[in-house]
């Protein structure tokens, strides 16, 4: 009851005309930067910090939260329509989302992403309201060994995206893992495979690889085939609304995506990519038509998009409850708190109730605004696909190149993008799936760090992975996910 009263008070803070205005400005800005590749919410908030100095802290944070949520919505748009994921959390969306768009179902893909984001955002915000402190206590129990087990579990996603040929899929996975090794090794400070190029010291950015393989590689491939075969791309095939069938196939993935996204987002080293992977895997395993996955299954857009947004709310849980920033944007919001002389931490809820509850209430409002803003826009965005093909492809390549440059303001990323794009073209020609490579690139380095941290702390005793209940159960689930389908397949054979 106390929470409800506090929340109601929060709504009274957030619904003043001024704060509604800041919230709207935030979500519009956020959607815009989400659409542009290379510019993330972290950078935007950092740029706006000095401007907000004269503002009320509550208003500033309401705007920042709008930017944060807005960027999560906007990120899916370029993924679906242009196959150009702007940030790593929307890479999975591109897999089936773009396939849907090519079939003229772009509007439905955008709609299920927007509604799914709304559903997930709202449920996860409610979870943030009521269980944040408890959630964070549980999240702290996760040690390096448990994280490693979680990464192994996420790595089994690979089995869902391997494609028809096991050896080709594994080759792609290993290529991704190898790319992930480039850069300074965190635990020893030594450079690996950097070829003496200082820009490679921080590793190869996942977004560069994803955009290179998806957008550049695919576009080059289609260009190369242009004279021989002409696959029709439809801007809109039939209605622009979701059919009854679409709704029926979407609602469960939204809920499951939320259930995966919020808790993993609340983990201090959970991140937003792992829940999207796990959601894709779950949906494919549970689906009655797994063969559609990769060719435009609506579940594969609905689930990961919901997971992505729910994890965005999850990230705020440790930030508000502990003052623990677990993503780049959260780190900047922490700095913003400090700019106003506010110390986030265990006492924030007591010391600054107006700010915290105003912020939480504005998350509900921002979510609603984003839905209202994005649903009608879905029909407008898909018109991009009606642009004459040569322009569209030139546009995608330009957009991708620009995005790679703005990531770190550095030309090395552009060169890398094109090298990887040409590799992607080759992979496409020889029918090697791209998704395993991305999974390996994202999870490989994370898993390696946690694996070595766990072993360093245990002084080389490898049993830590099996003696701790959390880690052990996650590993068992992972093993079952790989082994069970094999056994079932063996049995079903005559």
């Amino acid at each position: 009851m106390e929470t409800m009263n506090a929340l109601l008070h929060g709504f009274s803070v957030a619904t003043t005309i001024g704060n509604l205005g800041w919230c709207f400005l935030g979500v519009v800005l956020g959607t815009a930067i989400g659409v542009l590749p290379g510019i993330g919410p972290a950078l935007t908030v950092a740029l706006l910090l000095p401007v907000t100095y004269g503002m009320e802290p509550a208003s500033a944070f309401i705007m920042f939260a709008g930017i944060y949520y807005g960027a999560m919505y906007g990120g899916s748009t370029t993924s679906i329509l242009l196959n150009t994921p702007g940030e790593s959390a929307s890479i999975v969306t591109a897999l089936d989302g773009h396939a849907m768009a090519r079939k003229g179902r772009g509007a439905q893909a955008l709609a299920t992403a927007a509604i799914g984001s709304f559903v997930a955002g709202t449920i996860a915000t409610a979870a943030l309201t009521f269980v944040a402190p408890l959630m964070v206590k549980l999240a702290l129990l996760f040690g390096p060994a448990d994280y490693f087990a979680l990464m192994v579990l996420a790595l089994t996603t690979v089995t869902a995206v391997l494609g028809n040929s096991l050896s080709r899929g594994l080759a792609s996975l290993l290529f991704g893992l190898a790319l992930g090794l480039v850069g300074i090794d965190l635990q020893t400070g030594q450079a690996r495979f950097t070829l003496g190029i200082p820009e490679l010291l921080d590793g190869i950015d996942v977004v560069v690889v994803a955009v290179g393989l998806f957008a550049v590689g695919e576009t080059l491939y289609t260009l190369a085939r242009h004279r021989y075969e002409n696959e029709e791309i439809y801007a809109l095939n039939g209605s622009k609304w979701m059919s009854r069938e679409d709704w029926r196939r979407s609602w469960k993935p939204w809920l499951r995506g939320t259930a995966l996204g919020f808790p993993i987002g609340a983990l201090p080293a959970g991140g937003s990519e792992i829940p999207t992977f796990l959601s894709y895997l779950t949906e494919k395993r549970l689906s009655k038509h797994p063969e559609e996955f990769g060719n435009g299954a609506i579940e594969a857009v609905a689930g990961p998009e919901a997971a992505n947004n729910a994890s965005a709310a999850g990230v705020l849980a440790p930030l508000l409850a502990l003052g623990l920033p677990t993503s780049a944007t959260a780190a900047i919001m922490l700095a913003a708190f400090q700019q106003y002389g506010i110390q986030p931490g265990p006492t924030l809820f007591d010391k600054e109730p107006e700010l915290v509850w105003g912020l939480i209430a504005s998350l509900y409002i921002g979510n609603l605004m984003l839905l209202v803003l994005n649903l009608p826009l879905a029909g407008v965005w898909v018109k991009i696909l009606a642009v004459p093909r040569p322009w569209l492809y030139a546009g995608i390549l330009l957009f991708a190149t620009m995005g790679a440059y703005t990531l770190n303001n550095n030309i090395t990323d552009v060169v890398l993008l094109w090298i990887i794009g040409i590799i992607g073209f080759g992979m496409r020609c020889y029918d090697i799936p791209i998704a395993p490579c991305i999974v390996g690139l994202i999870l490989g380095p994370l898993a390696e760090q946690q694996f070595r941290r766990a072993l360093t702390i245990s002084q080389g005793d490898a049993t830590v992975f099996f003696t701790q209940p959390l880690s052990l159960s996650l590993l068992i689930v992972a093993a079952l996910l790989v082994v069970l389908p094999m056994i079932l397949r063996q049995r079903s054979k005559p």
Binding site: L140, L141, E199, P346, N408, N410
Partner: protein, 323 residues
């Protein structure tokens, strides 16, 4: 909507007034603009300093237009080499610090801090060693005893190799007579991860900037054993290393350097603007809100300090077996 426009207007007006308030006397030798490069991502320590400097310089009108750019990577060495090799159209300056000195050494960067012109050291902050509230380690002496008995049993959660946390842990071990290569140092990406690791009881001790732990220490979830500075942090009841019987002072610092290719007059103007900033009330305020220690040193002293610090950090990294 009226509220918004009125507020936006107020912000614009505040900007206009501060622009109008440029002291006329300084006008002839003043720099019109400055490009300030932070060799790390937005919101990192370097970036926060860059934006604080930007705020104060613009508010005082000593340099009316300051633009902050972020070039992240390689412990700051990517930004450093870009800064030294590029030919900027306007005067440019770079934020440097303890971690960059370590980064230059560990990455064997071709460009070093000898290639830049020191302007000033600006601020410092101190590291703290913390344990979870339920740990059996009560004092720094308990920790030392444990380290001497079995250094591997004490896992340290801290920041990157060659950074201030890592160097402090190594120097601490050496000072108390434990082999620095034997300590069990677990690298984490940033203070947030360190905090999570200690709070969850996964690492024995955490070492990072005191500000990272402040809220948890005040709430009683963590116990701070000691801080690494020469003096106690104001209002914080935690002993320094020296007070706790360990003869060691390490302070994280950050400062600003100029491009040696710049005109001498421009560097002088930059020095003057920074010197003016360092004694201003706005700067004192900026330091206070961020919990930074004022460790201002003008160009010449800062140059000597940079040399000494490079030698000291290099030795510490050799002792720890990194170089």
């Amino acid at each position: 909507m009226t509220t918004i426009t009125r507020r936006a207007f107020a912000v614009l007006m505040a900007g206009a007034i501060s622009l109008a308030a440029i002291p006329a006397a300084q006008a002839e030798e003043m720099l019109p603009s400055l490009e300030l490069l932070a060799p790390s991502s937005p919101c990192s320590g370097y970036d926060q300093l860059a934006r604080a400097v930007q705020g104060v310089l613009q508010a005082r009108g000593t340099i009316p237009a300051v633009e902050v750019t972020n070039v992240a990577g390689g412990g700051g060495t990517v930004g450093l080499s870009q800064f030294v090799t590029s030919r900027p159209r306007k005067t440019s300056a770079l934020i440097v610090g303890f971690a960059l000195v370590g980064g230059v050494l560990t990455t064997q960067s071709a460009v070093t801090l000898e290639n830049v012109t020191p302007v000033a050291r600006l601020m410092g902050d101190v590291d703290a060693i913390v344990v979870p509230a339920n740990s059996d380690i009560q004092t720094l002496d308990d920790l030392i005893a444990k380290l001497k008995e079995a250094p591997g049993d004490v896992s340290w959660a801290g920041g990157s190799i060659g950074g201030v946390d890592h160097v402090t842990a190594g120097l601490f071990a050496k000072t108390v007579g434990v082999d620095p290569t034997a300590i069990n140092y677990v690298v984490h990406a940033g203070g947030g991860e360190v905090l999570a690791s200690v709070l969850g009881g996964h690492a024995t001790v955490g070492i990072s900037g005191y500000e990272e732990f402040r809220a948890q220490v005040e709430a009683g979830d963590l116990r701070a054993l000691a801080v690494s500075g020469a003096e106690r942090i104001e209002g914080v009841d935690v002993p320094t290393f020296t007070e706790a019987g360990v003869d060691l002072v390490v302070q994280n610092w950050r400062g600003i350097v100029a491009n040696p290719k710049a005109k001498e007059a421009d560097i002088e103007a930059l020095n003057a603007a920074i010197a003016d900033m360092a004694t201003s009330p706005e700067w004192a305020d900026a330091l206070k809100t961020r919990g930074w220690i004022d460790s201002y040193q003008p160009a010449e002293e800062f140059g000597t300090f940079l040399n000494d610090e490079t030698t000291r950090i290099g030795q510490a990294l050799k002792d720890a077996g990194v170089l």
